[in-house]
Point group: C2
Chain length 168, copies 2
């Protein structure tokens, strides 16, 4: 990992994916809540302390437009051109660095700025998807996102996760 | 990503994971085959062209011993001390680098050397697990691995994937 890493996104293709967005709390009478997407892509996103607002925009455009999805006839395309569902999951641990047998997170962004950048990233993904000529035509498609700062209880089915890292 | 990256492993925690190890072929009368693990860790592994045999050993020891798993009472521990199942999945696309809207894989290891290193990595993980004082006591535990060079059809359930990257 470069010392100057500013953002990292792990892009995974999926047939379906399900994420818990509200953790249950029996004492507070809070029930668990989940979101689910069908065929499309999952973005695990992490911002580092040197990240800028321009990086948030650049990362959103990159992950939406990079050709990592596959059409039925095996052609490479973007998730917007597929068109497919999108699930965004905050994943700060992607910014960690192994030191001995433990991970350290010295270069991760602070929690408040991290939430701000994460929320902006989600908003930009929704905006660019809604503006896209192919994606926007299908009213059943979704851009969903996880709750920042909680445990990301996650399940997925894939036809090959095709894991790729986009780093700024 | 550093220009000198030699190996990359994405470590994901899981409650269960399932991987296709034989793709079906109707014309050849070949049926699909799957392997499945229960609670433990999944290693998505990728070697680059500068990787050495020493790196394979170092990576195996690192992923097995790094404390990224959680005990029932939320303490960090290694997958061997947990102890948990292990599923190893070859994932060459983790070595890719985005260029415009496409990914390039110029620094990935060649296919033959990649298969050799992958097979050695799997063997070392099995060996070190079998030698581990805690892990080896539980005869139900498994180290399973995907088939190199095929599409990795993969499903998982997690209680938080806790995605971490180990890079050499």
């Amino acid at each position: 990992m470069s010392e100057l890493l500013r953002a990292r996104c792990l892009v995974q293709q999926c047939v379906s994916a399900r994420l818990q967005v509200v953790l249950p709390d029996i004492q507070k009478n809070i029930l668990p809540e989940f979101v689910q997407i069908e065929r499309g892509a999952v973005f695990f996103v992490c911002f580092m302390k040197d990240a800028t607002e321009a990086d948030v925009d650049k990362l959103a455009k990159s992950v939406l437009n990079v050709r990592l999805s596959q059409t039925e006839d095996s052609k490479s395309t973007s998730v917007l051109d597929l068109p497919g569902d999108i699930l965004i999951i905050p994943q700060a641990c992607l910014g960690g660095k192994m030191k001995g047998k433990m991970f350290q997170y010295h270069n991760n962004i602070g929690k408040d700025a991290g939430l701000d950048f994460y929320a902006k990233f989600v908003d930009l993904c929704k905006k660019y998807a809604a503006e896209h000529p192919v994606w926007s035509l299908n009213k059943n498609l979704k851009v969903l996102s996880g709750t920042y700062g909680i445990r990301q209880v996650y399940s997925t089915e894939t036809n090959g996760p095709n894991m790729h890292l986009i780093e700024l």
